[in-house]
């Protein structure tokens, strides 16, 4: 991981009033929101035979 990303520096932080989050944490939260939206919106695959029975 360290070979891909240069980690030899201070972390980048985002300040907004009293909220202070590291950029990496913001990215993780954003990915979680995207995955959550995908889990809601993407249809769950159903077995084909179950559809034929009805």
């Amino acid at each position: 991981m360290a070979a891909v990303f240069n980690l030899n520096h201070h972390a980048t932080y985002v300040h907004w009033h009293f909220i202070q989050l590291s950029l990496s944490n913001i990215l993780v939260i954003a990915v979680m929101l995207i995955v959550f939206a995908a889990a809601i919106l993407i249809p769950f695959p159903h077995p084909k035979e179950a559809g034929r029975q009805s």
Binding site: M32, V35, F36, A39, Q53
Partner: protein, 248 residues
């Protein structure tokens, strides 16, 4: 002339009483059901199972780390691999668990006498936080020193610093490898058993709400939002007509 049988009396043995109550509360066909309602086919439950899988990896990798010790997990290639596996399985455990919790919150998963299912799930999340914190301060490196010296002020501010000292490695290690993992696993087991007992929460009756325009309620809030309106037609434990086999 018919002879009526006397009612079955409880056994005097406590083991038999415990067994009878356990089977009564959770019969084998419920405990290890091979069919689930059709609405269980949802990605949200996949994330619940992924949380359990991540927890299994956490326990396995953590057991190996505890057996080998910090000299191994810091200075050998295999040790660093298991150290990384333990860290990333924890990250994924939280990732999957939060998505599962978000989904269950918006499904109002406490409906139909399932409040304990919801509460145990939330408690797992709350116990997992200090479990992870004590893990970070048990790493035996500068990262652990930094986190412990920063976090101790927060603990002292709450007043629990007297018996939960983040600068005491032995105490933190005991919390991390025994007390908190046992609590997490115990509540997870209770959560899964409660899910088996009560069944997965049925979805909202959206089509009924959309078809029937309801008058305004007395308190000015949206009508049709009472507990009985939120409940589906089927009883809480009833399954849908098209079961899904082999899922949980």
């Amino acid at each position: 002339m018919s002879v009526t049988e006397p009612p079955a009396s409880r056994s005097s043995s406590w083991t038999a009483r415990v067994r009878e109550r356990a089977v009564e509360a959770l019969p084998p066909e419920k405990l290890l059901s091979d069919k689930q309602p059709s609405y269980v086919a949802s990605w949200i439950y996949v994330f619940g199972v992924l949380s359990l899988s991540a927890l299994a990896v956490i326990i396995l990798s953590g057991t190996i780390l505890a057996l080998k010790g910090p000299g191994w997990w810091h200075f050998t290639g295999v040790g660093r691999f298991f150290n990384g596996t333990h860290l990333w399985s924890v990250e994924l455990f939280f990732f999957f668990m939060v998505i599962h919790l978000w989904g269950k919150y918006w499904m109002a998963a406490w409906r139909g006498r399932r409040k304990n299912v919801w509460i145990t799930g939330a408690i797992v999340f709350l116990i997992a936080i200090p479990c992870a914190l004590t893990g970070y301060v048990s790493q035996q490196n500068f990262d652990a020193q930094w986190i412990s010296t920063q976090a101790k002020d927060a603990m002292n501010a709450t007043g629990i610093g007297a018996f939960f000292n983040l600068l005491n490695f032995g105490q933190m290690y005991s919390w991390h490898v025994l007390l908190l993992p046992v609590a997490v696993v115990a509540v997870v087991v209770a959560h899964v058993l409660l899910v088996r007992k009560h069944g997965v929460v049925p979805p909202f009756r959206l089509e009924a709400k959309a078809a029937t325009p309801a008058p305004a309620s007395v308190d000015g809030g949206p009508s049709g939002s009472g507990p009985e309106d939120r409940m589906p037609t089927a009883p809480p434990d009833a399954g849908a007509t098209s079961p899904v086999e082999g899922s949980s």
